[in-house]
Amino acid sequence: MAKQEYKHIEIADYPKTGFARFIQVMRRSLRVELFKGMGITFGVMIRTLFRGEMHTMQYPNEKLPVSARYRAIHKLLRFMESESERCIGCGLCEKICISKCIRMDTKLDENSRKVVPEYTINFGRCIFCGYCAEVCPELAIVHGDRYENVSEQRAHFSLKDDMLTPLDRLKEQKEFPGFGAVNPEADKMIKKTPLAY
């Protein structure tokens, strides 16, 4: 938890008499508060330009990182070391999916290992409940970070090739911290609510 620094702001009463008001005007003018304000904006400009305090995200080019708990378009992960698919074709996700939108084909390959030749999700029906990711024993199907969805028709299928991490981009694959894991940035982003509000 970040250190909290609360400032107590003294708010003086409004001046009542004309003379008190005059004193207030004089005090404010002589303390040149307006120019202090200009100093602040100038400082902000300098820091924005040269110290990287720019707040704007240039959205299509830059994106904010999404939390691991965010349920966006699914991804099928691979093992980082062996590069083989994590999915063992147990079919739990297909079974648990409440909108019945996962469909998969399994077969035994020449080594008598179960493989998954086809795996599709119909995103027209998916409600992004996250049950599939929660139930998966291998952390194979997870929610990724693609949240810009658009489709020309109601049924929109994502095929296995679309979701599976391609071999050449395996380096960029991030280990899924587990369904419901907190955001690694969470500490920085949380501010304690002052109880004295």
């Binding site: 307006l34 304000g37 200009m38 602040i40 904006t41 100038f42 902000v44 400009m45 924005t48 330009l49 305090e53 720019m54 707040h55 704007t56 240039q58």
Partner: protein, 333 residues
């Protein structure tokens, strides 16, 4: 070439150059304004049209020129159409008496970059700029819109308040110089480099004139005429396309005129500044004041019409008169 022909050609060329340069500057003024304000608010400002968004001005221009020209029902069409022209043209007329640079030689003739060196220069500039306020006033009254009429009313309030300060604050330096011509005012500060600037002898007049200049050019903190948060867009509510653009060009042209005026009267004008040649010196000063206008806009809140009148009549006018009296006594003594 006879002197008369040269004079006629010279004047026409000068007028064309002024209109062309300052229309373009008004456009780029909007670009700089957006950029500076964006940086002061931790934003990027225009980024997508051209590198760092510099061509945004062109895109805006295309949009303004091709927009449908709307004259609202029940407005007074003639006056509605004329009003923006008044603002834009008076802004450029005012520039006629402003010497922008030191004179230089061309083809054996001495050219001074001023369209008309009239002996009442500064009076003419202020007068022409004040006439420009007929634009917002008439435009607001002719648009048949309640916000517009409020904006028009505020124009009058503002005009009545700041014009006194402008005149009185400039009177003190003019008394010291003894001439209204901006060239004389500039030449008065030739001696002594920075120390010879009038700002050192007339600091109060400088501050008063700066405050009045913000009101004159209708900028924050005195942008009562078109303050979005209160009166939608004030007098400009019903304006769109190029008519609105003309108000805009007028406003920015005024901004540059005022920046030139302040630099000429108080900051030594186009006299050489050490190793910096005069032409560059005045450009630097004008650029600085333009930046100050943007800087203030992104820093200060704007004030209510009654506060503006309070400020101008009850605070600034007494100060201006006292300043005037002291200057008079010092000159006589």
């Amino acid at each position: 070439m006879s002197d008369t022909t040269f004079f006629v050609i010279e004047t026409i060329v000068k007028s064309l150059i002024i209109v062309a340069v300052f229309s373009a500057l008004a456009g780029f003024g909007t670009y700089f304004e957006r950029k500076v304000m964006a940086f002061m608010q931790r934003r990027y400002g225009p980024m997508l049209v051209g590198p760092q968004g510099v061509l945004q001005v062109l895109a805006d221009g295309i949009k303004l020129f091709t927009k449908e020209d709307i004259v609202p029902a029940n407005s007074v069409p003639l006056i509605f159409k004329i009003a923006p022209v008044i603002t834009a043209s008076t802004a450029f007329i005012a520039m006629a008496a402003v010497p922008f640079f030191p004179s230089f030689e061309i083809m054996g003739h001495t050219v001074s970059p001023i369209v008309a060196d009239i002996n009442i220069g500064i009076l003419f500039v202020l007068g022409a700029m004040a006439v420009g306020l007929y634009g917002p006033l008439l435009g607001g009254m002719a648009s048949n819109n309640k916000w517009s009429i409020l904006g028009a009313a505020r124009t009058v309030v503002q005009f009545l308040s700041f014009e006194v300060i402008t005149g009185l604050s400039l009177l003190a330096p003019i008394m010291m110089i003894g001439s209204l011509s901006l060239i004389d005012i500039n030449n008065y500060q030739t001696e002594g480099g920075v120390a010879g600037w009038l700002i050192w002898t007339q600091p109060v007049a400088f501050f008063l004139f700066m405050i009045a200049a913000f009101a004159e050019t209708n900028r924050t903190p005195f942008d009562l005429l078109e303050h979005e948060a209160e009166v939608v867009a004030g007098f400009a509510t019903e304006y769109s396309g190029m008519r609105w653009g003309m108000f805009f060009i007028g406003e920015y042209a005024n901004l540059f005129t005022v920046a030139f005026l302040v630099s000429l009267v108080f900051l030594g004008g186009f006299n050489d500044l050490g190793f910096i040649p005069g032409a560059l010196a005045i450009l630097l000063k004008v650029a600085f004041f333009f930046f100050v206008f943007l800087w203030v806009r992104s820093t200060w809140p704007h004030i209510r019409p009654d506060q503006l009148m309070w400020l101008c009549w009850k605070v600034l006018m007494p100060i201006a008169i006292i300043n005037l009296l002291i200057t008079g006594i010092v000159i006589l003594a």
